[in-house]
Subunit: 432 residues, 2 copies
């Protein structure tokens, strides 16, 4: 029976005579005539002591049998004195990427070009262990609050936000598009009577810009709920959701977070204290901060303003998270519910300098929806399914989406969101 | 504070004077001068007693306040005597689909053409409550067995199984394809050291045939694990997984299952008793059954053979589930690990007459992989990333995929897999 690396010390302590272990050859060294191998598996790593020199290469997969022993000098405090070694897969000697190297010294392009190997580095792998825990906590919190998971189609007849940034798909004799978001589908499911739904799925933006905050394919964590009054109900749900995610990460993945960041995920208390600032006031705060930092005037909540607002919130409110609400109508999709003639019931969540969420209440009143279309130069025939939804009984509702890679990157302090995507897609990169 | 329909009886029992409820107008009737409305919400439905006639339409969304009262004649044993009613969204009177109708009397095309409305029917909605529970249980079981969730790209440079049945995407100045499965990516993640991974995500097949068992876009529930000996390790994992899913469904969703099916999901005991039959033997059993049923000879495990094998297993072994393993090489992808010259370490799971899983051990030996390519008319340059994976240390591994819609359909006894897809995509259907 195989024992994982993390459990070898316990096996030594309980006096087991023989254990089996398996994994990758992470390091090899010879010291005073003794051969040491660091064996890496999914749980961590353990030192092997070999009584004879073996023709091993880095990254080979091996299976060993031997006696577990305590050794304070070994990483993790234990080692296996190997009596039997089988090589399951001998790695070629010309390893093109240094798996056991220092990630901070390897450029992002090299990390991504060698993705099938760079993911083996324990520090890089930790990013995706944290990401899996984010998705797990996201889903668990919503389920315990009456939300149902949905899986909607990613092939759509047209975009909900307008057609300019869509990837087209040859679908038999038709053209269809990759969905930018499950917006329409999650609204259908709210109106179907599920009332509260969530989805974790890929979303696509055919944007040409290549920045550290953009991906052309990303994992969208979507939430939608009925019977709300305003975007403030959504902000309350998101606060509870983020507090739960952060708590779970600090509880289960403090080690992985510490591999990347000096600080843990924010506390539940700091999340509940996160300020909610109307757009106009947020713009004023951003400009006051810009003046203090001798920067040019800011005209809208752009990435620079987001960074300034987060720094302000951290300093003044003790929260790395800040919500900006009541966005002017011109910045929001046409279906956003109005607060008054110029403002909408919408919000963004900014976290450690980056927008991680956009959300808002949606228009659910049939006639108001029809009235607003011409103001955006839109025709009712583009929205026939949407219109059916509103025409035949739709509750007041709204929702938001969290960018999974952005949230992962900000929790770990990664400088580029591509680092938080297993196989990132950008304008140039479509492999591996 | 809003009270859900399912909790109105309890509110009446504890003597609450006023409750608020909200939802959709499911039925309206007048009886002896009293107006009754059945209000539907996400939890169920409750009878409202109105003291005056209101201009309500079916499917309108309303909010009411009133006194909860026990009434044995009302559905669920309670009602609300309404003192205040607000209409949040008045549905137009020309409802194009009868939401409160008998689903068994409405054709599939009408159900799908009116998807935004048909999903409101409680029986149809129940399909997706069961599906959400399947995904939840699938994920929970795997996590508790050391599997990590991954999210891989759905845009790939080429297909892993050959290029004939792929949808192409215009990706800036390139052509890419929608992934048929996360096959390569889940293998990368096993070899990355995560060792055990799962993914729940859309998968695409550009197959032209339109049958009750095919979708062009479906939800694939994928599993992959390292350090296995043969496909039998995978079958053991799948048995544990299915037993857990079925138990969870019978525990939490017996009501929803009973809306569709006379029988619950199979018991854990019957799953653990599921026979594992080598291909040649399975073909013989299918032919014996065909003779008994006066049917023509069967030459491979086709849909007819699947149905016969499941009927045989149900009758002889008391299991609705049967595994067929050791498929001949010609029926399996080139990367399937050989058992001998003609057979492979592969399997299918058949459930209630339908294949719900294909899986197997994969070739992990670099040189053997290179040797097998020419036999399938393939060139190494198509597989450069795959080859890197195997060249630099890859454990013996394998995995399988469960079709989410197929499993849902078979648990509920749906006759067409499209019924188990929220927004199904077939050759003709791309809306809503």
């Amino acid at each position: 029976m195989r024992v994982l690396a993390k459990d070898i010390k316990a096996a030594a302590q309980t006096g087991e005579k023989t254990v089996q272990a398996a994994g990758w050859v992470h390091r090899i060294r010879e010291l005073g005539g003794v051969n040491f191998v660091i064996l890496r598996d999914r749980s961590g790593s353990v030192q092997l002591v070999l009584n004879e020199k073996r023709a091993l290469t880095l990254e080979s997969v091996i299976k060993v049998e031997g006696e577990p022993a305590l050794n304070e000098k070994a990483p993790g405090g234990a080692e296996i004195r190997v009596s039997k070694l089988e090589c399951l897969s001998l790695a070629a000697a010309d390893l093109p990427y240094q798996v056991n190297g220092d990630v901070s010294k390897i450029g992002l392009e090299a990390v991504l070009d060698n993705r099938t190997l760079s993911l083996r580095n324990p520090k890089i792998r930790a990013i995706f262990e944290v990401q899996a825990a984010i998705i797990e906590a996201f889903s668990a919190y919503l389920r315990s609050n009456g939300f149902t998971e949905i899986k909607s189609s990613k092939l759509v007849g047209s975009g909900t936000e307008g057609g300019t940034e869509l990837f087209s798909v040859d679908y038999f004799d038709k053209k269809v598009y990759l969905a930018q978001s499950p917006q329409f589908y999650k609204e259908v499911m709210v109106a179907s009577g599920l009332e509260r739904v969530f989805e974790v799925a890929p979303a696509y933006r055919a944007e040409k810009h290549d920045t550290p905050r953009h991906l052309n394919e990303y994992v969208s964590m979507d939430v939608e709920m009925g019977f709300i009054e305003s975007e403030r109900d959504l902000i309350e749900i998101e606060k509870g959701l983020l507090a739960f995610i952060f708590d779970e990460l600090n509880r289960k993945h403090a080690k992985e977070i510490a591999m990347w960041s000096d600080v843990p995920a924010p506390s539940a208390e700091s999340v509940s204290n996160a300020p909610v600032i109307p757009y106009d006031e947020a713009l004023k705060i951003a400009n006051d901060e810009a003046v203090k930092n001798k920067k040019a005037r800011i005209f809208d909540i752009n990435p620079e303003a987001e960074a300034l607002l987060c720094a302000w919130s951290e300093r003044e409110k003790g929260s790395a998270l800040v919500f900006v609400n009541e966005f002017p109508r011109r910045y929001r999709p046409f279906y956003t519910y109005p607060l008054d003639a110029s403002r909408t019931m919408s919000f963004d969540a900014l976290f450690r300098g980056l927008e991680i969420t956009t959300g808002g209440r949606r228009q659910h009143v049939y006639q108001d929806f029809l009235d607003v279309l011409p103001k955006f130069g839109l025709k009712p025939e583009y929205f026939s399914n949407y219109i059916t939804l509103l025409k035949y009984g739709c509750p007041p509702h709204g929702g938001f989406a969290l960018g999974c890679e952005r949230l992962t990157a900000k929790i770990l302090g990664l400088s580029n969101v591509k680092e938080a995507s297993l196989f990132p897609r950008d304008r140039k990169r479509v492999v591996p």
